[in-house]
């Protein structure tokens, strides 16, 4: 029994890690007032970037940097379109997701000449029973909370997401803060991708984000746009995911795995509707800021 429990905890932490990193990215972007459904694409591109650089250099550490770099580029496109050119942020995010799908497939074909996946590359080391990236993710969750709620910079970031005009009046550069929020989501989204490809695995597989960016989005909402809340949510979603696997391994029938898979989405809808708890988005989330002259 204790072995089963141990396996369950490990599986939960592993499943939660990429979700947590991406959800933290979502928190920074949306706290600054930019809706980021591009997380899925940022994550996919990050997963590819990590493997590509690790493949070229043989170093997983440089791979980690590669993931961050491409995550920032993807998020940068989203930032320019939605902050500078006032694009509908959901539309722009959709475009980034399509671009990431196309780009990674294209490069997969070009670099390794095959459509399905990359060869095995150097991955991040394990520490004890878990991969390094798991510790990084949970460490970053706490760090993110401190930055957002215990530093002046965090207060400024949150203020441009709640009331940009007031923040502007107080001399805060709304555009700069929003760029910072979205680019940080690129860093964290890229790391989330790296967690998938060179953390929990050691290769890139076509379309490997497989909707995890959207679960991360759900976790961010479920966690009320708060890093610690998002951590709790990703643990819950991770538990749901690993529970279904463990049930299958133990041969427990009765609850189809599909229902476990639905849990994050159903819970998110329920909490948003106020049937369980309550979750409120930053007031100016998704509203482009235009300076009136």
């Amino acid at each position: 029994m204790s072995w089963a429990l141990f396996t369950f905890v490990i599986a939960t932490l592993r499943a939660a890690t990429p979700l947590l990193l991406a959800a933290l990215g979502g928190v920074f972007s949306e706290r600054s007032g930019v809706v980021n459904i591009a997380l899925e694409g940022i994550m996919l591109a990050g997963a590819w970037g990590a493997v590509y650089v690790s493949f070229l250099t043989g170093s997983a550490w440089l791979g980690l940097l590669g993931a961050i770099a491409i995550g920032v580029v993807m998020a940068g496109l989203h930032a320019i379109a939605s902050i500078k050119y006032h694009a509908d942020q959901v539309v722009s995010g959709t475009a980034i997701n399509l671009l990431a799908t196309g780009f990674t497939e294209f490069m997969l074909n070009r670099v390794w000449g095959q459509g399905g996946g990359s060869p095995k590359v150097a991955s991040l080391p394990d520490i004890g029973p878990l991969n390094l990236i798991v510790y990084i993710a949970f460490g970053l969750a706490i760090l993110s909370w401190v930055v957002l709620y215990r530093t002046p910079w965090g207060l400024r970031l949150r203020s441009v997401g709640e009331h940009p005009l007031a923040a502007d009046t107080l001399g805060i550069n709304v555009f700069k803060m929003r760029y910072a929020g979205v680019l940080l989501s690129g860093v964290l989204g890229g790391l989330a991708g790296a967690a998938l490809s060179i953390g929990l695995l050691s290769r890139f597989v076509r379309g490997m984000s497989a909707g995890k960016g959207f679960i991360a989005l759900a976790a961010m909402i479920f966690g009320n746009w708060n890093p610690i809340g998002a951590m709790g949510a990703t643990l819950l979603f991770g538990a749901a995911q690993s529970l279904s696997t463990i049930f299958q391994l133990m041969g427990i029938e009765g609850i189809p795995s599909q229902f476990f898979n639905m849990i994050p989405y159903v819970l998110t809808m329920l909490i948003l509707a106020g049937f369980v708890g309550k979750s409120v988005a930053p007031a100016a989330d998704g509203v482009p800021y235009k300076k009136t002259t």
Binding site: T94, E105, L217
Partner: protein, 361 residues
Amino acid sequence: MPEEARWKETLKQGLRTFAVPVLATVVGLAVGILCIIVAGKDPVKAAQAFVQAVAGSPRMFGNVLVSTIPLIFTGLAVAFAYRAGLFNIGVEGQYLVAQVATVVVGVWWTPPQGFAWLHPILALAAGAVAGAIWGGIVGLLKAWKGVHEVINSIMMNWIALFLCDWLLKTYLRPDNSRASSYDLQETAWLTQGLIPGSRLHTGIWIALATAVVVWFILFKTSLGYEIRAVGYSPGAAEYGGISVAKALILTMAISGAIAGMAGSVQTMGLNHRFNETSTLVGYGFDGIAVALVGRLHPVGVCLAALLFGALDASSPLMQAMADVPKAVVSIVQGIVILFVAAESLWNFLQKRSAKKGVPAA
């Protein structure tokens, strides 16, 4: 205004409306060509392959139209909702549940003697209703609890994926070794071969008819007026005596029904069964591209659907003849959406026409 001047004015307005999507498409295709060059392939060969795939023979053109059919529906669904200020990113889920509903009616209901014609109609209706419910829930939660439709539609997409997967594996297939449902009874199939040799089916007429109906609802009925009014300004609409809640729910339900018809028509005309799918394929995202490039107008949507349908249908031949990876199509789509969305990027166009004394759009 004399007839000729009025024509000119209409033409000018049309040009202005479509300038941005046309330019965005040009940018997208340019990036696509760049990708082909970067990949070390021959763009001229690729272009030849494209032309041949699109217009090489009537059969080829028929297959372009086959790819166009679902895009017309999904594009209309997104455009319809957008008119009310709603972003229906849930097309994919509505498409999936509709396919299952159509399979249920198409497989298990046998029309009585002499009523075979009723079979596709009922199977289509079942899909539309399923899509309407799936979309309607999102509209209802928005109207009732104020939950943003984007988040809930994304959630509903994934719930649909797992629900349909479970239904397929538990009820809809004869045995576990099969990756698809039972086949539809032939009475529920749409007639294929409108162009001999191609798989073009009568779904094209249903798609075009739906475009006409959407145009009629949007621009010729009071419901359409209310929907557009809510899209411009919900506050003003409410003040003007329009029930915003009703408009939101109805819009999402109708949009969902249109998206559902995409799934039904695809099932009845092409697949004749529900195929197992482990992830979302992106029909909904295609619809977003089509709606935006089509400027949210049914005519524009049909044209944009034809464009993306041609890209889609030509990609196998471009792959075979010029070794162009299929991924280039996604890249082109992404770029086009990005450039249509970044509206103020194109402000310089408007400024120029404003200088010439043309009122800004």
